[in-house]
Assembly symmetry: C2
Homo-oligomer: 203 residues x 2
Amino acid sequence: MPEYKLIYFNARGRAELIRWIFAYGDIPYTDERVEKEDWPEKKKNVPGGKVPVLMVDGKPLPQSLAIARYVAKQADLVPQDHLEAAYCDALADTLAEVKGEAYKIMFSSQSEEEKKKVYREEFFPNVMAPVLERLEKRLQEREWFVSDKVTWADLMISLVFGEVQKRKAELLEAYPAVVTLVNKVRDILAIKQWLETAPDTPF
Amino acid sequence: MPEYKLIYFNARGRAELIRWIFAYGDIPYTDERVEKEDWPEKKKNVPGGKVPVLMVDGKPLPQSLAIARYVAKQADLVPQDHLEAAYCDALADTLAEVKGEAYKIMFSSQSEEEKKKVYREEFFPNVMAPVLERLEKRLQEREWFVSDKVTWADLMISLVFGEVQKRKAELLEAYPAVVTLVNKVRDILAIKQWLETAPDTPF
């Protein structure tokens, strides 16, 4: 197996899905966390100047979802069937869009009060709820997102909506099948152990 | 083979890469183009309300890159090697980010004059040039983006920077290996034929 080093900030952010997949697959890797104040200096030595980046035997692979999909293949979390694999990919891109919109608000120059209003009146009803509705419908009909087997799409659903559950559980009240999946993934032994030992960071 | 119908606007936009891959693989599909004025009505019947969407035997697959990767597998444009496949994925996400930044400017409320200034002073030097520099370095060392064989990453490079070449060829002057690849992909017989017969749309 190649030697893996994942470089990211000391945060869950765009790297946590990759860490979950490594944990699920019991794949050894170095989890290098760069502190914010060290980033300007470190950035010069990171190929492309962006994180997360996965060093594979010293060669850089950028882009969080490309890394996640690659590690997921090693962890047997990508379906063999091409169409099922594509549904995972589509879900990952959709959730990345949802997260991107949330980050935009989080890092905007608005006041905390204004941000809350945007989350409540725009982000939740127009961005997150439509995705939750489609997911709920789908998850009411099957055990996992694409098939009878867990995939990296399930890990991403659990990661993203588990964050929502921690911050504002009432937003998920209308989506019981999504909540069931969030918890089911977090109850997988390897994920449970990672959650118990992972560094505690605010986001 | 499943029955494919690609639904998108009458534009290249986020669907053209998929059309190139269908053309390369000589895979039959219906290229459904919705006119802008028909979209509000059509939107109600498009699962998720967003395009492009690929109907696979009547079942919807959303997200342009998930669709492209899926069709690319059928067209033998995805490397078997997992790391090579991941480099293609990372490149696709990076070019999608570049296109996303360009669209943001294109659809902003600024005047044409202001837009040109943003393209010239911010988008090109900070967003597009760093990507072109890394690509140029890579393509000077090998024939295709990841290996000795064309992949969907090469098609995307040719599509994205071919658009730049059409509009402002001088921006690519410092990147001769990229220009060579742009042209080489467009000279592949199936792509050449598609370019000769594809509907002529402004973008």
